[in-house]
């Protein structure tokens, strides 16, 4: 039987900044009506189930991975982003970091 850890009120909810960003992206799209609230809950639930089926222990630690997977999926399905665009843009960002001298603000450089 898996023990449920009883963390206290003060434990930080976001382990890393990207988690807060991903969650805000999703809820921002719901707030603006781009994604319907029930559609969001269903897609997130489906992504969690899919991850479970693929071996994710689903202990709550990977929750924001599921949030990101769900918002990416909805963005693609709704045609908000083109197929492959997220991967290509991530690579552009990675190269932009590598091309920016340390200490300077990183700006996106498109290939």
């Amino acid at each position: 039987m898996t023990h449920l850890p009883a963390d206290d009120d003060d434990r930080p909810t976001f382990a890393e900044p990207w988690q807060a960003q991903a969650f805000a992206l999703a809820t921002g799209l719901v707030d603006r009506g781009v994604i319907a609230a029930d559609e969001w809950a269903e897609t997130l639930g489906a992504e969690i189930k899919r991850a479970q089926a693929a071996g994710d222990p689903d202990t709550g630690e990977t929750y924001y991975h599921h949030v990101l997977a769900a918002v990416e999926r909805l963005a693609r399905e709704k045609g908000l982003v083109d197929a492959g665009a997220i991967e290509a843009r991530a690579e552009d960002w990675r190269r932009s970091y590598l091309a920016t001298p340390h200490g300077q603000p990183v700006e996106l450089k498109r290939r």
Partner: protein, 209 residues
């Protein structure tokens, strides 16, 4: 110059790059406003949390009219504090009594009364909690150190994107005449989810006084 460490900036993790990628694509399409995004992050990280729910519970304990308002129109009664959720999210309060103990879960994902409790703890989002809160609530409560008499009825409430439940725990005995500020120290996030009871006066911070 030590090595070549100063002629580039180390990129963040792959997953952080994906978030940044999606964000910049959506900003370009005008679907996301970067300032609104920053405001949301700030709100989740700093401004909403169980401290909101503690105020609601404390007023419900001390003001029968407010409790009735909470029963009749929870969104408005909670909104009286300025805690307002998104359109389409309906709050429901469920009250613990000596005969009934309420427990909140979201079996599908992680729907949660975030306007009053902030973001859910890790365990709330875990598969064991989501399934066992329904199949064996007494076992789950026991793991949180919450023992109920056998004749207490446990009601489990499954949250959805439209319905968000918040538990009003029982006011502990021996707190007559306590100030709202002191009462708030007895109300925990876990008590408002229903996995625990409110703290006893002896367990509260500064109880020695």
């Amino acid at each position: 110059m030590p090595h070549d460490g100063h002629d580039h900036t180390e990129p963040p993790s792959d997953i952080a790059l994906r978030v940044k990628s999606l964000e910049s694509l959506l900003v370009e399409k005008g679907l996301v406003d970067p300032a609104a995004l920053d405001a949301l992050v700030d709100r989740y990280e700093h401004r909403v949390g169980p401290q909101n729910g503690k105020k609601v519970v404390t007023r419900a304990w001390t003001n029968p009219d407010y409790l009735q308002w909470l029963r009749d129109d929870p969104n408005a009664a909670i909104g009286d504090f300025g805690f307002t959720g998104r359109q389409g999210e309906h709050m429901v309060i469920v009250e613990n009594t000596p005969e009934v103990h309420n427990l909140v879960v979201c079996t599908l994902c992680s729907c949660y009364p975030w306007t009053v409790l902030g973001l859910p703890p890790v365990w709330y989002k875990s598969a064991p909690y989501r399934s066992r809160a329904v199949s064996e609530p007494r076992g789950v409560l026991a793991e949180f150190g919450t023992a109920l008499d056998d004749d207490v009825e446990i009601r489990v409430w499954d949250s959805t994107s439209e319905m968000r439940y918040m538990v009003i725990p029982e006011r502990p005995a021996g707190t007559g005449g306590w100030s709202a500020e002191d009462l708030e120290t007895l109300v925990t996030r876990n008590a408002m989810i229903g996995v625990e009871k409110a703290k006893k006066p002896a367990d509260a911070p500064g109880a020695a006084a």
